[in-house]
């Protein structure tokens, strides 16, 4: 238990070495390989180890890439908006209206669906929203509609519904945590100083909850962009997103340098957008304070 700084550090390093080494080997090394590949040339079935920017030029000039990337961003943005918008009142309810003893129960109930098989849930939405699916057959047997509703399957709407459902707890938890941190006497102070309930919410609660909203947005936005299962199953393969495109380049077309350049470009775009988003919010929050 000698706790000089050096022995602290030595013990710390030797403990963190296995998990860190594992992440280095299984995550970092492959990511770097992808990065390296993206600068190589594709020979048929082989890779020519020669530095080139061709792949990036091709990716950035490819109208299909533009279209798919924009669609992915659009879908992810829409999903984020819907998910966070729907989640905020629930988080607010949990934090302000539920008694402390029952909060754990509510949180547990909300997180459970998230841990059940993602694949099964996505498939279920397909079944629910399908041409002869639960909604259409249900409505038809009730005599409400004659013809099946077609606007709900194989389009962006159905992708948004499915993803919004899948990432719901991701959005609720950060907002809930931010709301929990708000000192309740601040709200009373707001009321005490003559603000209406709505104005107190607008001027005190919402600004203080913003960090949670930002975290929730990022936590939903980033994985939805890279989602593979939903566009494959729900979109019926007709509306591919960026993950499908990467997969196609890498495996179906076996063009690894091109696929790598695609993956790297997509990650860069997401990273830059996220940073801009965080920076804007920081600015916005500072002004408010």
């Amino acid at each position: 238990m000698a706790s000089g700084n050096r022995s602290q550090a030595v013990q710390g390093y030797s403990l963190i070495a296995p998990p860190f080494g594992y992440a280095l080997l299984v995550l970092m090394a492959p990511l770097l390989t992808i990065l390296a590949y993206s600068f190589f040339k594709d020979g048929y079935l082989t890779i020519i180890r020669e530095f080139t920017l061709e792949n990036y030029v091709a990716v950035w000039g490819d109208p299909i890439f533009h279209k798919i990337m924009l669609r992915s961003l659009g879908v992810a943005a829409l999903v984020t908006l819907v998910t966070v918008g729907l989640a905020f009142p629930v988080a607010y309810f949990l934090s302000f209206a539920v008694s402390p003893q029952r909060k754990g129960m509510w949180l547990f109930l909300i997180t459970i669906p998230f841990w059940t098989s993602y694949l099964v849930r996505v498939f279920l939405w397909k079944v629910i929203l399908g041409y002869n699916g639960v909604i259409n057959s249900g409505l038809k047997s009730l005599g409400i509609i004659e013809e099946p509703l077609t606007f709900i399957l194989y389009n962006v709407n159905s992708i948004v519904i499915t993803l919004a459902h899948a990432y719901a707890p991701f959005a609720i938890l950060p907002i809930f945590i931010a709301l929990e941190k708000i000192d309740r006497s601040l709200l009373e102070a707001g009321r005490d100083l003559g603000e209406s309930r709505a104005m107190t919410f607008w001027r005190v609660t919402l600004p203080l909850a913003m960090p949670g909203v930002v975290a929730a947005s990022l936590i939903v936005f980033i994985p939805t962009i890279g989602d593979y299962v939903t566009p494959t199953l729900i979109g019926g393969g007709k509306i591919p997103m960026i993950a499908n495109m990467i997969q196609a380049q890498m495996l179906d077309l076996d063009n690894r340098p091109m696929g790598s350049a695609l993956a790297v470009t997509a990650m860069l775009i997401v990273a830059i957008l996220s940073l801009i988003f965080v920076a804007l919010n920081r600015r916005f929050l500072k002004v408010r304070q």
């Binding site: 238990m1 000698a2 706790s3 000089g4 700084n5 022995s7």
Partner: protein, 379 residues
């Protein structure tokens, strides 16, 4: 005649010796040359404000912290390279560190795991240790159901059952409420007398240190400012800082007239010329505010006019009265105390409220009785 406790301790062999102990955390100099001898059988306290290094010193003795340089000896053995689990010390932690997954008996018997004695003998030892701290029959209880005072006792029994040469106590009473704390203070003293083990206590509570200790080391910024018995520490603090940390003290600026055979003669506004005895002179005055005379509020008293007294008497006017029930605090502005051109603050006097003595009122005249022996000079 049996020798007094003080004499016996005076003659006891050293149990813990620290020589020039330094400890750095990176650039932070936590212990700055600690020299210290703690005698066998002593109840010793390390007292100081938070961050003064007292806990670091305790953990250094326990073996939880390496020292950067210097020597720590326990019972004449160099502790360099001896880990905490091989030192003849045991510790009572501030949080008590009662293992929540074990029963009371399992907690107390934790350190006996490697003991070669039989299971029954160990159980008896646990029962005995529990009885010693007043928890007879509590062995089967779950430890998380205990109160603060009971946890403390379990922690004590768990450490003492191993019969260490030194028991280290890290702020053991700080988590208890006032009543419980006072009760445990007395119990700890009794326990220490009973087992005769050297106790080293860390505390930031000066009262606690004064009540319990044979000797106290007051620490500031990684150094020992004064090491003395409680009475000496209280009556003759070695510096203004020590005086200020331990209780309340009046400080008055003074002018030194000159050395006398028995001490130093000073001119003290409101008191006149006073000869301070040599024993009451402290040269440690790092504040550099010029020579200062200090005295405790209860070292002076207000006497009725004309009453016979062997002490010297000075007159003044009562400026403020604060009534505390058992005590009354008076702030008295002494006549002629505006010496050296500077306005001098009124002095604070503490008087015990006894039957038949009226509480004085603001504005009343007061005769202040004092003696040179209760004044301390910081020069």
């Amino acid at each position: 005649m049996t020798p007094s406790r003080y004499d016996r301790l005076e003659a006891a062999k050293p149990m813990i010796e620290c020589r020039e102990v330094h400890k750095y955390y990176g650039d932070y100099h936590a212990l700055r040359g600690i020299d210290l001898t703690i005698r066998a059988g002593e109840f010793f306290s390390l007292l100081g404000p938070s961050g003064c290094g007292k806990t670091t010193l305790l953990r250094t003795i326990a073996g939880f912290e390496d020292i950067t340089s210097g020597v720590v000896l326990i019972d004449n053995k160099d502790m360099a390279g001896v880990a905490a689990n091989h030192r003849p010390t045991n510790m009572v932690f501030q949080s008590y560190a009662i293992f929540p997954h074990l029963t009371v008996a399992e907690n107390v018997g934790f350190g006996l795991r490697r003991d070669p004695r039989s299971r029954a003998e160990k159980a008896a030892a646990v029962e005995e240790a529990l009885a010693m701290v007043g928890l007879k029959g509590y062995g089967a209880r779950a430890s998380h159901a205990l109160s603060g005072g009971q946890r403390q006792r379990v922690a004590l029994a768990r450490a003492l059952i191993l019969k260490p040469k030194v028991l280290l106590l890290d702020e053991p009473l700080s988590a208890l409420d006032r009543k419980m704390r006072e009760q445990m203070q007395v119990e700890l003293i009794k326990l220490q007398r009973q087992v005769g083990i050297t106790f080293v206590l860390v505390t930031h509570d000066q009262e606690e240190a004064l009540v319990m200790s044979d000797r106290i080391a007051v620490m500031f910024e990684g150094q020992i400012a004064q090491l003395d018995g409680p009475e000496a520490l209280y009556a003759r603090p070695a510096s203004r800082r020590v005086a200020d940390f331990i209780g309340v003290m009046n400080f008055l600026p003074t002018r030194i007239i000159g050395d006398t055979p028995n001490g130093v003669e000073v001119d003290l506004p409101g008191f006149g010329r006073v000869e301070i005895p040599a024993a009451n002179i402290s040269r440690a005055n790092p504040d550099d505010e010029g020579p200062t005379v200090g005295f405790r509020p209860e070292a002076v008293s207000i006497v009725s006019t004309g009453a016979p007294t062997q002490s010297r008497v000075t007159e003044g006017t009562i400026d403020e009265v604060v009534y505390y029930g058992d005590m009354t605090y008076y702030d008295v502005r002494l006549d002629g105390s505006d010496g050296f051109g500077a306005k001098v603050r009124p002095i604070r006097i503490a008087m015990r409220n006894v039957f038949g003595r009226e509480v004085q009122e603001v504005g009343a005249r007061a005769n202040v009785s004092w003696s040179p022996g209760s004044l301390v000079l910081f020069r």
